[in-house]
Symmetry: D2
Subunit: 306 residues, 4 copies
């Protein structure tokens, strides 16, 4: 396949700018609400190490829930299949912050991308690692190939102060026996992880490793087999977009993950990874223009995995 | 890719036979409970028109919910994107026969593969077609390339007599305004559709059309664009295995659909379609050996779409 | 206690008329929507056979769910404590037509006053009686002391045509094994029962028997012990007002039952029974002015049972 | 009414001892599990200041959820009807510790006797009072007429260490905006309140005030009108026994409240209050023998309020 990806990204940018300006910047985290709503960036990188970009692709933004993919990769590397005793692999069929299902299913979150599941993943990291924070940053820096990756402590603090529902999740799961570490330690780590800032380019680089099966997956000592990487991709496709995961599979057809910072990263195995950023979200919590850009991308490149 | 698929199917058959004999034949439909639990067949056909098979691959069995893919293809062809106003594309996150979600979501089923969704699809066919039953059989016969496809009226009758929950679904959705036709007509059609009998070979043939993007999808006048076919595949991946869809994506990594008759059909785009049959089901309603066979197949052939 | 009940009823009528005219006549049953919204009647009768009334107390109206008390009294008389294996005695904590709880609790309705529970009660009458319809009318005529009690067949037909949710309930419970008779027979009987028409005077007479423990409870051969009558009263207090039962106990403090025709009947043991009618309903399905009238009555007479 | 209450209590004790020894001492609070399971005491006191007792009626036990009645009386006295904007008066229809309903109903607990509701009541006390703990003990000492009432700090500590679900409730409600004070302060106060120890005699004394309408209700400055006291009684009847409130109304017919320490207190207005203690609980969390004793009491004395 030879594609003029740069031309396609430019077409997408034009078409996106012609769209009505829908959606709302996440406002439940006060610090995030300060981001300029008009930002738009996109970066695509291929297994041949080509790079294509438009817009604010080199501007750092809060990756939020996209970070759950990184902590999950680490925990999967540490525990292997045993991880799935503590968190499921099924789509939730409910908004990403629902506590109902957790109660009915005995404190086992449906999957690692609902908040409760991501908190269990953090609990695993805290139990298994001597210096989990150092390991996390070593891992994401190795993944992105950039040492300039850290978290925004103002955002982390802002999230902690408003994150009562996540606190409820942790205590609920502690009540059901699926949380080992102290609530405060888990939440501190979780908010740091969510407040990591990356550019579209860095995210695309990190996600390319999920699609380049010719290369071993190993970052800062956390390694996954090809089969495990494919399983992570399957999880992203089934569960990566909150209660809109089916829509993303249906309309875009790539494995990916979104965050309420407005970012989406996705991978087309054996060919490319792509990251897009636009802060305005739809009512499901996904970037309106990010989602639409990727729908345009797979339509124009016929790169749906199906 | 050149693979010795015949050798691989034979290996799978051997490995499957060595497994403990778990699961239970569906017994809520009395007529289905009469099937010999030891049946096992598998058929794989490629876009190059090659055919590989082991076991009872030429024996007819009740395709049950696999039929939902066919009626959906017809309704999608008839209504296009308007179909999704009446049925969603999100995984259900609940067992396949749950009425709870339907109540909370105003009679709009989560997707066309939960029973309620398949009943809405039938409602569409009854409204749009002059002779929907004739069209259904023309469609499946064209899809399979076999005129020898019909339904088992004893099974259909047996299902109707015990299908109180489906009757409840239809009336519930009528109460919410999402069903137009008479309950009895919908249910009669639905049970005929579910009672269609096919062989593994016929199922594999029919599913190959979902993966051969070089050929137009058009059967008995019902046509889909390549993009629409890919969307059907996405729906199968997200929602095709009841409350185990995530597991199937995770472990097998193909778009597919299962039925309580013990069949599973799946497609690996641009390369092959496969059907497997083994009547014993796990507690989620999926064929134990069918699921495991396909996990072995994609592991051995490295054919996960991810 | 000597009270000038006539003066109190007149005060209530004046105060009620001074209130803002809130609420809506039930419109999901087209025939009921034709009733004049301004009707207001109230009748109080004592264990000393005194009668007090204001307004349209002698006008017939559709008693709707109040009829559930009568069919329940008959079924309780027939089965005794065995009845409670098929229907519970707990408040539902959900709107009166919720199917969710039914699914979680295996087809056993929470109590006999939710629609599903009333349908089980009808199922009992159909199984136990040779001519259940004749028995029902013999019972209600004996209870009211009036031969002029029958049902409105236009309302019954109107309800049947729009009662898809009740049809769903019956089939759901049949699926779970808690319904024996044919759905159509149960629903026909149920809609006749709900379409019974009475005056406030007749309702008050019938309810006085639940509060006059000096007299045996026996109508048309259906008898209850004093203890059983008290248990019916307890059920009315806990569950008689849909999702507003707590409010009624809290603000009025009497055992009673409401219907979407705008009627409420209630009993103050050893002293009086009262019925009130005003068609406009609040969003919980209870008569706005009926509820308020009874709150005024128990405040003025200090007759809360607590 | 002249009753030989002493004889009746003795009959009850004999009959209770002849029953099979069912139930289990609460074991989720380790300290409570140490109580001897064979304890049984009962105390009845009348509005004429008569006292009747059998068994361990003078032994202190952990009143647990019965304490919710006392904190509610205080909060109701402080806020009046405004209290019901923050907590409902409807039965929950779910087990006492369910978080599901809370999520669906925006953090407004169904009633003040589910744990979430009792935590909101505590939040009110912490906001409204300068020294809430001193006020609580002044109130309960005045209610019981005994200065010898305090809490067991070992039990309070034991509850706090295992009370993850209550912590989840508080944070869930904070997320929804219905909790003002710090989680830790609320929980500390709540566990002290639940760990209050009383004898059957003290409990009966305190509950008699809810049934003696000739006397003003005023303890340590917290006063309620007669109408407010009746409303508290209505709440106890509708919601006082977790998911068995309907059963208690149905079989006993008194306003009352139970606790997982095995105590139940109840009131028959204008005549008596009664408290019973037996530590073994049924699966709904109510004292098996306590419940049965009160059923015998109202049967023998015909004292159901209905």
């Amino acid at each position: 396949m030879t594609m003029d990806y740069q031309k396609i990204l430019q077409e997408i940018e034009v078409e996106i700018n012609a769209l009505p300006d829908d959606g709302t910047v996440a406002n439940y985290i006060p610090e995030l609400a300060k981001v300029s709503p008009d930002r738009f960036g996109m970066h695509l990188t291929t297994v041949r190490n080509e790079h294509y970009a438009v817009g604010d692709s080199e501007v750092k933004f809060s990756i939020q829930s996209i970070s759950k993919v990184f902590s999950l990769a680490m925990a999967f590397s540490l525990l292997g299949e045993k991880l799935w005793k503590r968190v499921g692999v099924e789509p939730s069929g409910n908004p990403f912050n629902s506590i109902v299902q957790l109660e009915y299913e005995n404190g086992i979150p449906r999957n690692p991308f609902v908040n409760a599941g991501a908190l269990v993943v953090v609990d695993v990291l805290l139990s298994e690692l001597k210096d989990p924070e150092a390991d996390l940053f070593a891992f994401v820096r190795s993944s992105t190939g950039s040492n300039d990756v850290s978290y925004n402590s103002v955002v982390a603090q802002s999230e902690k102060e408003t994150g009562h529902l996540n606190t409820a999740f942790v205590h609920m799961m502690k009540a059901k026996g699926n949380i080992v570490n102290e609530a405060d330690e888990i939440l501190d780590f979780y908010y740091k992880q969510c407040s990591i800032e990356m550019t579209c380019r860095e995210l695309a680089e990190a996600f390319l490793h999920f699609g380049d099966n010719g290369l071993a997956y190993n970052h800062a000592g956390f390694s996954l087999t090809t089969s495990q990487v494919k399983r992570l991709n399957a999880l992203m496709l089934s569960c990566g977009f909150y209660d809109e995961s089916g829509q993303f599979a249906f309309k875009v057809g790539l494995a990916g993950k979104s965050g309420v910072g407005g970012g989406i990263a996705a991978v087309y195995p054996e060919e490319f990874a792509v990251a897009v950023w636009s802060p305005k979200l739809n009512e499901k919590g996904n970037s309106v223009r990010g989602f639409h850009s990727l729908e345009l991308l797979t339509t124009k490149t016929e790169s749906s995995i199906f």
